[in-house]
Symmetry: C2
Subunit: 303 residues, 2 copies
């Protein structure tokens, strides 16, 4: 076997760090990979411990009606995943089985359920916060996590279709949101240094759809609403966004009717950790075998 | 507020143990709930530590082609969830947005992706094991986990649409599969006693679809292929299955071509832990506030 020709993904498969499923961007996770994810989760929890954020964990799907209201289909229709089910009779079922047996398309008869796969961990949070009524004077701070889905099949292991996103979300006055984001930009540098990952932080934009999307992307960059912590994984020229730092202004506050204690529309900001991407960055830079990682990195992850 | 009239689910919402999303069977998880899930995960890991199972964790979706081959749509079509995405032009996108804006059904234009939500944690495992070639003489043992989906919206908090399933799967000779299941039936009693949950174990069947399904269900019961550990949660007459113990004979071995060292078709067995159901059983029997739980239960869960 030509070791030099193997891609990073091939090597992860060969060592059982990830397991192939036959679908690009959809992988089983081996013991070493999960140990790294768990270690990072603990490290992030320690970094944020003094903030005393409210912990909520979400299942991988969200309410479709709330998803529709969120505007996601306007901005990122190509990435979303709706969940569909069979609700037919026994006769319909026989036709479906015939279809599968003959290699036909049996999925046309599936009807949309009330559930859509969660595209980012914070989407299900805002309606929950809105329902509680006006914020306290100190605003709100949430520590959330979800498996997320984005339909972008790729051979780049860092572009998975299903991956975990840990997020902290700040909701309150504009200056509360802004100082939250500033503090995490600072902490992120320390986090990447602790993990001994080469990195830099840069302004960024979301992958808005179509021609109108290009304008939204430039406006987002001009206003510096999104930053990313970038680490080279598959390429040095196009490093991978492993964390993002977003200031939404009053977008979500207005959309969901979240009010500050004074009755103003709340501003929101979030920091998101791409857990699989961070783990892959570690395997890329420190090696496929975690036993050979630097002692200080292993200690930080309690490996 | 009439405390006595509140359902168990209402009380879980009121205390932030679970968070409402507007869809029955789809809930956010609060800090106390997740601490219990994590504690149970550690306890299960300790119980199984000497078995040295291979750890694999799966994302919430699996390869649709493998799912089709698995026969799930024959037996449980009503429960499955296929994932669909938009792949249209900018013009199609404008029509889609109009549809959402007018409250129309925009989901008809979504096309099936290569991904189906995982119905049980072991479904993605068998093809991975088959690909490795014949088993070693001692067979295989796997410690797996996945978020699973079943389309059965319900107000019973123990019947979630998205929930986590931890499983151990034994693959090998018929007697290896049988003795594995026996050992877990014994361990399960100890597990439930450690958690001080009222319980009993009984023969059971899967919810096979339609008229033909009724025959499969009786045959499964007659052959005692499935047992469940039952705990009263929403009802004493109809207690909830919190664990299941399944002997598949050579069904999956034959389907996926898994061979023993001697070249025979492998037999398989699994034990599955319904993590959300077990957590709910604890909240039901020991109270909504985990601080008031019996000291020994709190210690077992490292709470």
């Amino acid at each position: 076997m030509c070791q030099a020709c193997d891609s990073f993904l091939d090597r992860l498969f060969a060592k059982g760090v990830l397991h192939e499923t036959g679908v690009d961007g959809l992988y089983g996770r081996g013991q070493a990979f999960e140990a790294v994810i768990e270690g990072m989760d603990r490290l992030i929890t320690r970094i944020a411990a003094n903030d005393r954020a409210e912990v909520i964990r979400f299942p991988p799907g969200m309410n479709r009606a709330l998803f529709e209201k969120s505007g996601y289909m306007k901005n990122f229709p190509q990435l979303a995943g709706t969940v569909h089910s069979f609700a037919g009779s026994e006769k319909d079922h026989l036709a479906l089985l015939d279809n599968i047996h003959n290699g036909g398309d049996w999925t046309g008869g599936q009807g949309a359920t009330d559930i859509v796969l969660t595209p980012a961990a914070c989407y299900p949070l805002y309606p929950i916060v809105a329902r509680r009524g006006p914020l306290a004077a100190e605003g709100g701070l949430f520590d959330i996590q979800s498996y997320c889905f984005r339909h972008e099949p790729s051979k780049d292991p860092a572009r998975m279709q299903m991956f975990r996103m840990r997020e902290f979300v700040r909701i309150g006055l504009p200056e509360q949101a802004a100082s939250f984001r500033e503090s995490w930009l600072e902490r992120a540098r320390g986090f990447a240094e602790t993990l001994e990952l080469p990195h830099h932080i840069d302004v960024a934009n979301d992958p808005f759809f179509g021609r109108a999307g290009r304008m939204m992307a430039s406006s987002q960059r001009e206003q510096a609403l999104k930053f990313e912590l970038l680490v080279p994984i598959e390429s040095t020229e196009n490093p991978t966004a492993c964390q993002s730092f977003n200031y939404h202004q009053d977008h979500f506050g207005a959309l969901w009717g979240i009010k500050t204690a004074a009755g103003e529309t709340a501003h929101t900001a979030c920091v998101g950790f791409g857990m699989e991407r961070l783990a892959l960055a570690l395997f890329k830079h420190h090696g496929i075998d975690t036993n050979g990682w630097p002692t200080s990195v292993r200690a930080a992850l309690s490996l």
